[in-house]
Protein backbone atom coordinates (compact mmCIF):
# COMPACT_ATOMS: atom_id res chain seq x y z
CA UNK A 1 0.00 0.00 0.00
CA UNK A 2 1.33 3.43 -0.97
CA UNK A 3 1.49 6.46 1.28
CA UNK A 4 -1.92 7.61 2.45
CA UNK A 5 -3.66 10.34 0.52
CA UNK A 6 -4.44 12.37 3.57
CA UNK A 7 -2.71 12.34 6.93
CA UNK A 8 -4.18 14.11 9.90
CA UNK A 9 -2.35 14.04 13.18
CA UNK A 10 -3.56 15.75 16.34
CA UNK A 11 -5.81 18.23 14.53
CA UNK A 12 -7.16 21.02 16.73
CA UNK A 13 -9.62 23.71 15.79
CA UNK A 14 -10.36 26.45 18.30
CA UNK A 15 -12.43 29.59 18.16
CA UNK A 16 -11.31 32.54 20.23
CA UNK A 17 -14.48 34.34 21.20
CA UNK A 18 -15.17 37.19 23.59
CA UNK A 19 -16.64 34.71 26.02
CA UNK A 20 -13.59 32.46 25.94
CA UNK A 21 -12.01 29.88 23.71
CA UNK A 22 -14.18 27.15 22.29
CA UNK A 23 -12.33 24.08 21.17
CA UNK A 24 -14.41 22.47 18.43
CA UNK A 25 -11.90 19.79 17.45
CA UNK A 26 -9.47 18.50 20.03
CA UNK A 27 -6.78 16.22 18.75
CA UNK A 28 -8.23 14.20 15.88
CA UNK A 29 -5.86 11.88 14.03
CA UNK A 30 -6.46 9.60 11.08
CA UNK A 31 -5.01 8.58 7.76
CA UNK A 32 -7.05 8.17 4.63
CA UNK A 33 -6.19 6.15 1.57
CA UNK A 34 -8.38 5.76 -1.47
CA UNK A 35 -11.27 4.52 0.59
CA UNK A 36 -14.53 5.63 2.14
CA UNK A 37 -14.22 6.97 5.65
CA UNK A 38 -17.29 7.95 7.65
CA UNK A 39 -17.27 10.50 10.45
CA UNK A 40 -20.27 10.24 12.76
CA UNK A 41 -21.37 12.32 15.71
CA UNK A 42 -24.12 14.53 17.07
CA UNK A 43 -24.37 18.24 16.30
CA UNK A 44 -21.50 20.01 17.95
CA UNK A 45 -19.22 16.97 17.96
CA UNK A 46 -16.75 18.73 15.67
CA UNK A 47 -17.28 16.46 12.68
CA UNK A 48 -18.02 19.25 10.21
CA UNK A 49 -15.22 21.43 11.55
CA UNK A 50 -12.81 18.55 10.96
CA UNK A 51 -13.85 18.42 7.31
CA UNK A 52 -13.64 22.18 6.93
CA UNK A 53 -10.22 22.40 8.57
CA UNK A 54 -8.80 19.92 6.07
CA UNK A 55 -9.96 22.13 3.22
CA UNK A 56 -8.81 25.31 4.96
CA UNK A 57 -12.38 26.55 5.24
CA UNK A 58 -12.46 27.23 8.97
CA UNK A 59 -14.39 30.50 9.39
CA UNK A 60 -12.38 33.55 10.56
CA UNK A 61 -12.00 33.62 14.34
CA UNK A 62 -11.09 29.94 14.14
CA UNK A 63 -7.54 28.70 14.48
CA UNK A 64 -6.34 25.37 13.08
CA UNK A 65 -3.34 23.60 14.56
CA UNK A 66 -2.05 20.12 13.90
CA UNK A 67 1.12 18.12 14.30
CA UNK A 68 0.64 17.01 10.76
CA UNK A 69 -1.91 17.81 8.08
CA UNK A 70 -0.77 16.64 4.69
CA UNK A 71 -2.55 15.91 1.46
CA UNK A 72 -0.57 13.80 -0.98
CA UNK A 73 2.67 14.99 0.61
CA UNK A 74 1.68 18.68 0.61
CA UNK A 75 1.68 20.32 4.03
CA UNK A 76 -1.68 22.05 4.12
CA UNK A 77 -0.80 24.22 7.10
CA UNK A 78 2.29 25.69 5.42
CA UNK A 79 0.83 25.93 1.92
CA UNK A 80 0.33 29.40 0.49
CA UNK A 81 -3.15 30.71 -0.11
CA UNK A 82 -2.59 30.37 -3.81
CA UNK A 83 -1.54 26.77 -3.50
CA UNK A 84 -4.57 26.05 -1.32
CA UNK A 85 -6.87 27.69 -3.84
CA UNK A 86 -5.48 25.43 -6.54
CA UNK A 87 -6.01 22.33 -4.44
CA UNK A 88 -9.44 23.31 -3.19
CA UNK A 89 -12.08 22.65 -5.81
CA UNK A 90 -9.43 20.99 -7.95
CA UNK A 91 -7.89 18.02 -6.20
CA UNK A 92 -9.96 18.16 -3.05
CA UNK A 93 -13.60 19.18 -3.08
CA UNK A 94 -16.55 19.29 -0.74
CA UNK A 95 -20.23 18.54 -1.16
CA UNK A 96 -22.32 20.58 1.28
CA UNK A 97 -25.52 19.65 2.99
CA UNK A 98 -28.12 21.72 1.25
CA UNK A 99 -27.95 22.48 -2.49
CA UNK A 100 -30.41 25.32 -1.94
CA UNK A 101 -27.80 27.33 -0.06
CA UNK A 102 -24.57 26.14 -1.57
CA UNK A 103 -25.23 26.72 -5.26
CA UNK A 104 -25.09 30.22 -6.66
CA UNK A 105 -28.72 31.31 -7.08
CA UNK A 106 -28.06 33.83 -9.87
CA UNK A 107 -26.05 31.57 -12.19
CA UNK A 108 -27.36 28.65 -14.18
CA UNK A 109 -26.09 25.27 -13.06
CA UNK A 110 -24.15 24.88 -16.30
CA UNK A 111 -22.48 28.28 -15.99
CA UNK A 112 -21.28 27.64 -12.44
CA UNK A 113 -19.98 24.22 -13.35
CA UNK A 114 -18.03 25.64 -16.28
CA UNK A 115 -16.66 28.31 -13.96
CA UNK A 116 -15.55 25.67 -11.46
CA UNK A 117 -13.94 23.60 -14.19
CA UNK A 118 -12.11 26.45 -15.89
CA UNK A 119 -10.80 27.75 -12.58
CA UNK A 120 -8.68 24.63 -12.36
CA UNK A 121 -8.19 23.26 -15.84
CA UNK A 122 -7.00 25.18 -18.87
CA UNK A 123 -9.81 24.51 -21.25
CA UNK A 124 -11.78 26.29 -23.92
CA UNK A 125 -15.46 27.09 -23.44
CA UNK A 126 -16.64 24.36 -25.78
CA UNK A 127 -14.50 21.75 -24.08
CA UNK A 128 -15.65 22.83 -20.62
CA UNK A 129 -19.25 22.69 -21.75
CA UNK A 130 -18.82 19.19 -23.08
CA UNK A 131 -17.09 18.00 -19.91
CA UNK A 132 -19.86 19.57 -17.81
CA UNK A 133 -22.61 17.88 -19.80
CA UNK A 134 -20.81 14.54 -19.50
CA UNK A 135 -20.59 14.98 -15.76
CA UNK A 136 -24.27 15.87 -15.47
CA UNK A 137 -25.03 12.70 -17.40
CA UNK A 138 -22.73 10.73 -15.08
CA UNK A 139 -24.83 11.72 -12.06
CA UNK A 140 -27.82 10.25 -13.91
CA UNK A 141 -29.77 13.42 -14.49
CA UNK A 142 -32.36 12.51 -17.05
CA UNK A 143 -31.92 15.47 -19.35
CA UNK A 144 -28.43 16.96 -18.80
CA UNK A 145 -28.86 19.68 -21.43
CA UNK A 146 -31.99 20.95 -19.74
CA UNK A 147 -30.51 20.90 -16.22
CA UNK A 148 -27.45 22.68 -17.63
CA UNK A 149 -29.51 25.74 -18.46
CA UNK A 150 -31.66 25.78 -15.30
CA UNK A 151 -31.18 27.95 -12.23
CA UNK A 152 -30.80 26.24 -8.86
CA UNK A 153 -34.29 27.29 -7.71
CA UNK A 154 -35.80 25.52 -10.69
CA UNK A 155 -34.61 22.06 -9.69
CA UNK A 156 -35.72 19.76 -6.87
CA UNK A 157 -33.53 18.96 -3.87
CA UNK A 158 -32.40 15.63 -5.27
CA UNK A 159 -31.57 17.12 -8.66
CA UNK A 160 -29.74 20.03 -7.03
CA UNK A 161 -27.66 17.71 -4.91
CA UNK A 162 -26.78 15.63 -7.97
CA UNK A 163 -25.75 18.79 -9.81
CA UNK A 164 -23.66 19.73 -6.78
CA UNK A 165 -21.93 16.34 -6.84
CA UNK A 166 -21.36 16.71 -10.58
CA UNK A 167 -19.81 20.13 -10.01
CA UNK A 168 -17.50 18.81 -7.33
CA UNK A 169 -16.38 15.86 -9.43
CA UNK A 170 -15.90 17.68 -12.72
CA UNK A 171 -12.26 18.45 -11.93
CA UNK A 172 -11.51 14.78 -11.15
CA UNK A 173 -10.54 15.33 -7.51
CA UNK A 174 -8.53 12.84 -5.45
CA UNK A 175 -10.41 13.59 -2.28
CA UNK A 176 -14.08 14.35 -1.80
CA UNK A 177 -15.46 15.51 1.52
CA UNK A 178 -19.22 15.10 1.74
CA UNK A 179 -20.77 16.93 4.68
CA UNK A 180 -24.23 15.49 5.31
CA UNK A 181 -24.81 15.23 1.55
CA UNK A 182 -28.17 13.53 1.90
CA UNK A 183 -29.65 14.91 5.12
CA UNK A 184 -31.78 17.44 3.27
CA UNK A 185 -33.14 14.75 0.95
CA UNK A 186 -35.94 12.24 1.11
CA UNK A 187 -35.29 8.61 2.01
CA UNK A 188 -35.81 7.27 -1.48
CA UNK A 189 -33.92 10.08 -3.22
CA UNK A 190 -31.20 9.64 -0.62
CA UNK A 191 -30.62 6.10 -1.84
CA UNK A 192 -30.28 7.23 -5.45
CA UNK A 193 -27.82 10.00 -4.61
CA UNK A 194 -25.75 7.65 -2.45
CA UNK A 195 -25.67 5.06 -5.19
CA UNK A 196 -24.40 7.64 -7.67
CA UNK A 197 -21.79 8.83 -5.21
CA UNK A 198 -20.77 5.26 -4.46
CA UNK A 199 -20.32 4.35 -8.13
CA UNK A 200 -18.37 7.48 -8.96
CA UNK A 201 -16.06 7.08 -5.98
CA UNK A 202 -15.41 3.46 -6.89
CA UNK A 203 -14.88 4.19 -10.59
CA UNK A 204 -12.47 7.04 -10.06
CA UNK A 205 -10.65 5.60 -7.08
CA UNK A 206 -11.09 8.70 -4.95
CA UNK A 207 -10.78 9.06 -1.22
CA UNK A 208 -14.09 9.98 0.39
CA UNK A 209 -14.83 11.45 3.80
CA UNK A 210 -18.52 11.09 4.54
CA UNK A 211 -19.75 13.20 7.43
CA UNK A 212 -23.16 12.41 8.91
CA UNK A 213 -25.10 12.03 12.13
CA UNK A 214 -26.76 8.85 10.90
CA UNK A 215 -24.68 5.96 12.16
CA UNK A 216 -26.71 3.33 10.37
CA UNK A 217 -26.37 5.07 7.03
CA UNK A 218 -22.65 5.69 7.43
CA UNK A 219 -21.89 2.15 8.45
CA UNK A 220 -23.74 0.76 5.45
CA UNK A 221 -21.98 3.13 3.08
CA UNK A 222 -18.39 3.47 4.28
CA UNK A 223 -15.47 1.12 4.82
CA UNK A 224 -14.37 2.63 8.08
CA UNK A 225 -16.13 4.80 10.66
CA UNK A 226 -14.79 7.37 13.12
CA UNK A 227 -17.17 8.17 15.95
CA UNK A 228 -16.71 11.66 17.36
CA UNK A 229 -17.92 13.28 20.55
CA UNK A 230 -16.93 16.62 22.06
CA UNK A 231 -14.27 17.20 19.40
CA UNK A 232 -12.53 13.90 19.98
CA UNK A 233 -12.53 10.53 18.29
CA UNK A 234 -14.22 8.08 20.62
CA UNK A 235 -13.75 4.98 18.57
CA UNK A 236 -12.59 3.87 15.15
CA UNK A 237 -14.31 0.87 13.63
CA UNK A 238 -14.48 -1.13 10.46
CA UNK A 239 -18.01 -0.59 9.15
CA UNK A 240 -18.78 -4.30 9.36
CA UNK A 241 -17.79 -4.49 13.02
CA UNK A 242 -20.30 -2.01 14.24
CA UNK A 243 -22.04 -4.64 16.30
CA UNK A 244 -18.77 -5.18 18.11
CA UNK A 245 -18.54 -1.50 19.08
CA UNK A 246 -17.17 -1.25 22.58
CA UNK A 247 -17.42 2.41 23.40
CA UNK A 248 -20.65 3.20 25.29
CA UNK A 249 -21.15 6.31 23.14
CA UNK A 250 -21.12 4.31 19.89
CA UNK A 251 -23.47 1.76 21.37
CA UNK A 252 -25.72 4.52 22.63
CA UNK A 253 -25.85 6.14 19.19
CA UNK A 254 -26.81 2.84 17.68
CA UNK A 255 -29.40 1.86 20.23
CA UNK A 256 -31.27 5.14 20.23
CA UNK A 257 -32.41 4.61 16.65
CA UNK A 258 -35.81 2.98 16.39
CA UNK A 259 -35.58 -0.14 14.26
CA UNK A 260 -38.12 -1.42 11.81
CA UNK A 261 -37.86 -4.84 13.38
CA UNK A 262 -39.19 -3.42 16.61
CA UNK A 263 -37.45 -1.55 19.36
CA UNK A 264 -37.82 -1.26 23.08
CA UNK A 265 -40.34 1.16 24.59
CA UNK A 266 -39.19 3.67 25.68
CA UNK A 267 -36.12 3.92 23.47
CA UNK A 268 -32.81 3.87 25.29
CA UNK A 269 -31.61 7.44 25.59
CA UNK A 270 -28.03 8.31 24.87
CA UNK A 271 -26.05 8.75 28.07
CA UNK A 272 -23.27 11.27 27.71
CA UNK A 273 -20.39 11.05 30.10
CA UNK A 274 -18.46 14.35 30.35
CA UNK A 275 -15.38 12.29 31.15
CA UNK A 276 -15.26 11.08 27.52
CA UNK A 277 -14.53 14.57 26.34
CA UNK A 278 -11.70 15.12 28.80
Amino acid sequence: MSAPLLEVDNLRVSFHLRTGTVEAVRGVSFALGRERLGIVGESGSGKSQTGRAILGLTPPPGEVRADRLTFDGIDLLKASKRQLRDLRGGRMTMVMQDPKYSLNPVMTIGAQMIEAYRAHVRAGKAEAREKTLDMLAAVKLRDPARVFSLYPHEVSGGMGQRAMIAMMLVTDPDLLIADEPTSALDVTVQQEVLRILDNLVAERGMGLIFISHDLRLVSSFCDRVLVMYGGKVMEELAAGDLDAARHPYTRGLMNCLPALEGSSHPLPVLERDPAWAQ
Binding site: S220, F221, L270
Partner: protein, 257 residues
Protein backbone atom coordinates in the same frame (compact mmCIF):
# COMPACT_ATOMS: atom_id res chain seq x y z
CA UNK B 1 -68.70 5.46 17.74
CA UNK B 2 -65.01 5.39 18.45
CA UNK B 3 -63.64 7.25 15.43
CA UNK B 4 -61.74 10.39 16.42
CA UNK B 5 -60.88 11.52 12.92
CA UNK B 6 -62.75 10.44 9.82
CA UNK B 7 -61.59 11.61 6.42
CA UNK B 8 -63.70 10.59 3.44
CA UNK B 9 -62.51 10.99 -0.14
CA UNK B 10 -60.52 14.12 0.67
CA UNK B 11 -59.14 16.09 -2.29
CA UNK B 12 -56.85 19.10 -1.98
CA UNK B 13 -56.02 21.02 -5.13
CA UNK B 14 -53.45 23.76 -5.62
CA UNK B 15 -53.34 25.99 -8.70
CA UNK B 16 -55.67 25.90 -11.67
CA UNK B 17 -55.61 25.23 -15.38
CA UNK B 18 -52.35 23.69 -16.56
CA UNK B 19 -50.79 24.32 -13.15
CA UNK B 20 -53.46 22.34 -11.34
CA UNK B 21 -51.96 19.87 -8.92
CA UNK B 22 -54.00 17.49 -6.81
CA UNK B 23 -51.79 17.30 -3.72
CA UNK B 24 -54.23 14.93 -2.06
CA UNK B 25 -56.46 12.83 -4.25
CA UNK B 26 -59.43 10.82 -3.03
CA UNK B 27 -57.89 10.05 0.34
CA UNK B 28 -59.79 8.18 3.03
CA UNK B 29 -58.57 7.57 6.57
CA UNK B 30 -60.13 6.68 9.90
CA UNK B 31 -58.34 7.13 13.19
CA UNK B 32 -59.83 5.65 16.34
CA UNK B 33 -59.97 7.37 19.68
CA UNK B 34 -56.69 6.99 21.59
CA UNK B 35 -54.95 5.49 18.60
CA UNK B 36 -51.61 6.48 17.19
CA UNK B 37 -51.78 6.54 13.42
CA UNK B 38 -48.96 7.01 10.92
CA UNK B 39 -48.71 8.56 7.47
CA UNK B 40 -45.57 7.68 5.52
CA UNK B 41 -44.28 8.84 2.17
CA UNK B 42 -41.67 10.87 0.35
CA UNK B 43 -41.81 14.65 -0.09
CA UNK B 44 -44.65 15.66 -2.32
CA UNK B 45 -46.68 12.59 -1.43
CA UNK B 46 -49.31 14.77 0.22
CA UNK B 47 -48.89 13.41 3.73
CA UNK B 48 -48.37 16.82 5.33
CA UNK B 49 -51.15 18.31 3.24
CA UNK B 50 -53.60 15.84 4.81
CA UNK B 51 -52.70 17.20 8.26
CA UNK B 52 -52.89 20.78 7.04
CA UNK B 53 -56.30 20.12 5.51
CA UNK B 54 -57.56 18.75 8.82
CA UNK B 55 -56.33 21.94 10.55
CA UNK B 56 -57.79 24.21 7.91
CA UNK B 57 -54.37 25.32 6.69
CA UNK B 58 -54.96 23.81 3.25
CA UNK B 59 -58.23 24.17 1.35
CA UNK B 60 -60.24 21.00 0.86
CA UNK B 61 -61.63 20.84 -2.66
CA UNK B 62 -63.77 17.83 -2.03
CA UNK B 63 -64.60 15.14 0.46
CA UNK B 64 -65.37 15.47 4.13
CA UNK B 65 -63.48 15.69 7.39
CA UNK B 66 -65.05 14.88 10.73
CA UNK B 67 -63.40 15.17 14.11
CA UNK B 68 -64.90 13.61 17.21
CA UNK B 69 -68.01 12.64 15.26
CA UNK B 70 -68.76 16.16 14.01
CA UNK B 71 -67.97 17.57 10.57
CA UNK B 72 -65.40 20.34 10.93
CA UNK B 73 -66.61 23.91 10.31
CA UNK B 74 -64.83 26.21 7.84
CA UNK B 75 -63.22 28.38 9.06
CA UNK B 76 -62.31 26.24 12.04
CA UNK B 77 -63.72 27.56 15.30
CA UNK B 78 -62.15 27.80 18.71
CA UNK B 79 -63.75 24.57 19.85
CA UNK B 80 -61.96 22.78 17.02
CA UNK B 81 -58.55 24.10 18.02
CA UNK B 82 -59.09 23.14 21.63
CA UNK B 83 -59.62 19.58 20.38
CA UNK B 84 -56.95 19.40 17.67
CA UNK B 85 -53.47 20.86 17.85
CA UNK B 86 -50.51 20.52 15.53
CA UNK B 87 -46.74 20.26 16.03
CA UNK B 88 -44.63 21.32 13.06
CA UNK B 89 -41.47 19.90 11.61
CA UNK B 90 -38.96 22.64 12.09
CA UNK B 91 -38.63 23.93 15.65
CA UNK B 92 -36.32 26.62 14.29
CA UNK B 93 -39.08 28.03 12.11
CA UNK B 94 -42.21 27.43 14.16
CA UNK B 95 -41.40 29.47 17.28
CA UNK B 96 -41.55 33.25 17.24
CA UNK B 97 -37.94 34.43 17.53
CA UNK B 98 -38.81 37.61 19.47
CA UNK B 99 -41.08 35.95 22.03
CA UNK B 100 -39.99 34.25 25.22
CA UNK B 101 -41.17 30.73 25.96
CA UNK B 102 -43.61 32.29 28.43
CA UNK B 103 -45.14 34.52 25.71
CA UNK B 104 -45.28 31.63 23.25
CA UNK B 105 -47.18 29.48 25.74
CA UNK B 106 -49.51 32.20 27.00
CA UNK B 107 -50.79 33.18 23.55
CA UNK B 108 -53.06 30.15 23.04
CA UNK B 109 -54.35 30.62 26.60
CA UNK B 110 -55.27 34.25 25.91
CA UNK B 111 -56.95 33.37 22.61
CA UNK B 112 -59.03 30.71 24.31
CA UNK B 113 -59.66 32.98 27.33
CA UNK B 114 -58.37 30.46 29.81
CA UNK B 115 -57.46 31.68 33.25
CA UNK B 116 -54.85 30.47 35.64
CA UNK B 117 -52.11 31.03 33.05
CA UNK B 118 -49.26 30.82 35.50
CA UNK B 119 -50.12 27.35 36.68
CA UNK B 120 -50.93 26.06 33.21
CA UNK B 121 -47.63 27.26 31.74
CA UNK B 122 -45.62 25.75 34.57
CA UNK B 123 -47.52 22.47 34.21
CA UNK B 124 -47.04 22.35 30.43
CA UNK B 125 -43.31 22.97 30.76
CA UNK B 126 -43.08 20.30 33.42
CA UNK B 127 -44.97 17.89 31.15
CA UNK B 128 -42.39 18.16 28.40
CA UNK B 129 -39.48 17.86 30.80
CA UNK B 130 -38.33 21.47 30.83
CA UNK B 131 -37.76 23.12 34.18
CA UNK B 132 -39.18 26.52 35.21
CA UNK B 133 -35.83 28.09 34.33
CA UNK B 134 -36.72 27.79 30.66
CA UNK B 135 -39.76 29.99 30.99
CA UNK B 136 -38.17 33.33 30.24
CA UNK B 137 -35.73 32.28 27.58
CA UNK B 138 -35.89 33.09 23.89
CA UNK B 139 -35.91 30.33 21.25
CA UNK B 140 -32.35 31.14 20.15
CA UNK B 141 -31.16 30.26 23.64
CA UNK B 142 -32.51 26.72 23.29
CA UNK B 143 -31.21 23.66 21.45
CA UNK B 144 -33.24 21.99 18.69
CA UNK B 145 -34.59 19.33 21.03
CA UNK B 146 -35.58 21.91 23.65
CA UNK B 147 -37.35 23.99 21.01
CA UNK B 148 -39.32 20.98 19.86
CA UNK B 149 -40.31 20.40 23.49
CA UNK B 150 -41.58 23.98 23.67
CA UNK B 151 -43.55 23.43 20.45
CA UNK B 152 -45.11 20.31 21.98
CA UNK B 153 -45.89 22.21 25.19
CA UNK B 154 -47.63 24.93 23.17
CA UNK B 155 -49.79 22.29 21.51
CA UNK B 156 -50.57 20.56 24.80
CA UNK B 157 -51.39 23.65 26.84
CA UNK B 158 -54.97 23.73 25.54
CA UNK B 159 -55.43 20.12 26.65
CA UNK B 160 -56.41 18.86 23.19
CA UNK B 161 -57.59 15.34 22.42
CA UNK B 162 -55.74 15.05 19.13
CA UNK B 163 -52.15 15.95 18.27
CA UNK B 164 -51.18 16.19 14.62
CA UNK B 165 -47.43 15.66 14.39
CA UNK B 166 -45.78 16.75 11.16
CA UNK B 167 -42.30 15.20 11.04
CA UNK B 168 -41.66 16.14 14.67
CA UNK B 169 -38.15 14.67 14.77
CA UNK B 170 -36.73 14.91 11.27
CA UNK B 171 -34.88 18.17 11.98
CA UNK B 172 -33.22 16.65 15.05
CA UNK B 173 -30.18 14.51 15.75
CA UNK B 174 -30.68 10.77 16.18
CA UNK B 175 -29.98 10.95 19.92
CA UNK B 176 -32.40 13.85 20.46
CA UNK B 177 -34.97 12.08 18.29
CA UNK B 178 -35.03 9.22 20.79
CA UNK B 179 -35.75 11.66 23.64
CA UNK B 180 -38.60 13.34 21.76
CA UNK B 181 -40.11 9.99 20.71
CA UNK B 182 -40.05 8.82 24.32
CA UNK B 183 -41.65 12.08 25.43
CA UNK B 184 -44.43 11.73 22.84
CA UNK B 185 -45.08 8.17 23.91
CA UNK B 186 -45.28 9.11 27.59
CA UNK B 187 -47.56 12.09 26.93
CA UNK B 188 -49.95 9.94 24.92
CA UNK B 189 -50.23 7.45 27.75
CA UNK B 190 -50.66 10.15 30.40
CA UNK B 191 -53.17 12.34 28.59
CA UNK B 192 -54.99 9.70 26.54
CA UNK B 193 -54.18 11.54 23.32
CA UNK B 194 -54.85 10.50 19.75
CA UNK B 195 -51.86 10.98 17.45
CA UNK B 196 -51.53 11.32 13.71
CA UNK B 197 -47.83 11.16 12.93
CA UNK B 198 -46.41 12.12 9.56
CA UNK B 199 -42.89 10.99 8.75
CA UNK B 200 -40.72 9.77 5.93
CA UNK B 201 -38.98 7.35 8.28
CA UNK B 202 -40.76 4.02 8.51
CA UNK B 203 -38.78 3.04 11.59
CA UNK B 204 -40.02 6.10 13.50
CA UNK B 205 -43.62 5.49 12.43
CA UNK B 206 -43.62 1.81 13.34
CA UNK B 207 -42.06 2.66 16.67
CA UNK B 208 -44.81 5.07 17.63
CA UNK B 209 -47.82 3.92 15.65
CA UNK B 210 -49.90 0.79 15.35
CA UNK B 211 -51.60 1.37 12.02
CA UNK B 212 -50.28 3.40 9.13
CA UNK B 213 -50.95 4.44 5.55
CA UNK B 214 -48.23 4.67 2.91
CA UNK B 215 -48.84 7.58 0.56
CA UNK B 216 -47.49 8.50 -2.83
CA UNK B 217 -48.53 11.25 -5.25
CA UNK B 218 -51.45 12.24 -3.07
CA UNK B 219 -52.95 8.76 -2.97
CA UNK B 220 -52.93 6.03 -0.38
CA UNK B 221 -50.71 3.21 -1.64
CA UNK B 222 -51.31 0.79 1.17
CA UNK B 223 -52.87 0.64 4.60
CA UNK B 224 -51.04 -1.69 6.93
CA UNK B 225 -49.84 -2.06 10.50
CA UNK B 226 -46.54 -2.40 12.31
CA UNK B 227 -46.62 -6.18 12.94
CA UNK B 228 -47.36 -6.89 9.28
CA UNK B 229 -44.52 -4.63 8.17
CA UNK B 230 -42.13 -6.35 10.55
CA UNK B 231 -43.13 -9.70 9.15
CA UNK B 232 -42.33 -8.33 5.69
CA UNK B 233 -45.90 -8.62 4.45
CA UNK B 234 -46.27 -5.74 2.06
CA UNK B 235 -48.71 -5.53 -0.79
CA UNK B 236 -46.96 -2.84 -2.81
CA UNK B 237 -43.42 -2.72 -4.13
CA UNK B 238 -43.21 0.94 -3.09
CA UNK B 239 -43.59 0.06 0.58
CA UNK B 240 -40.81 -2.50 0.21
CA UNK B 241 -38.61 0.16 -1.36
CA UNK B 242 -39.26 2.46 1.59
CA UNK B 243 -38.48 -0.35 4.03
CA UNK B 244 -35.19 -1.01 2.30
CA UNK B 245 -34.28 2.67 2.38
CA UNK B 246 -34.94 2.73 6.12
CA UNK B 247 -32.49 -0.09 6.72
CA UNK B 248 -29.59 1.90 5.27
CA UNK B 249 -27.67 1.96 2.04
CA UNK B 250 -27.36 -1.19 -0.03
CA UNK B 251 -25.06 -1.57 -2.99
CA UNK B 252 -26.87 -2.83 -6.07
CA UNK B 253 -24.76 -5.99 -6.19
CA UNK B 254 -25.43 -7.06 -2.64
CA UNK B 255 -29.18 -6.75 -2.39
CA UNK B 256 -29.83 -9.53 0.02
CA UNK B 257 -33.01 -9.80 1.99
Amino acid sequence: MTAMIEIEKLTVVFGSGSLRVAAVDDFTMRVDRGESFGLVGESGSGKSTVLRAVCGLAPAAGGSIAVDGKPVPTPRDRAFYSTVQMVFQDPYGSLHPRQTVDQILSEPLSIHRLGDQDRRIAAALGDVGLGPSFRFRYPHQLSGGQRQRVAIARALILEPKVLLLDEPTSALDASVQAEILNLLERLRAEHGLTYVLVSHDLAVVTHLCGRLIVMRNGKAVEETDAPRLRAGETASPYTRELMQATRGFTRASQTTE
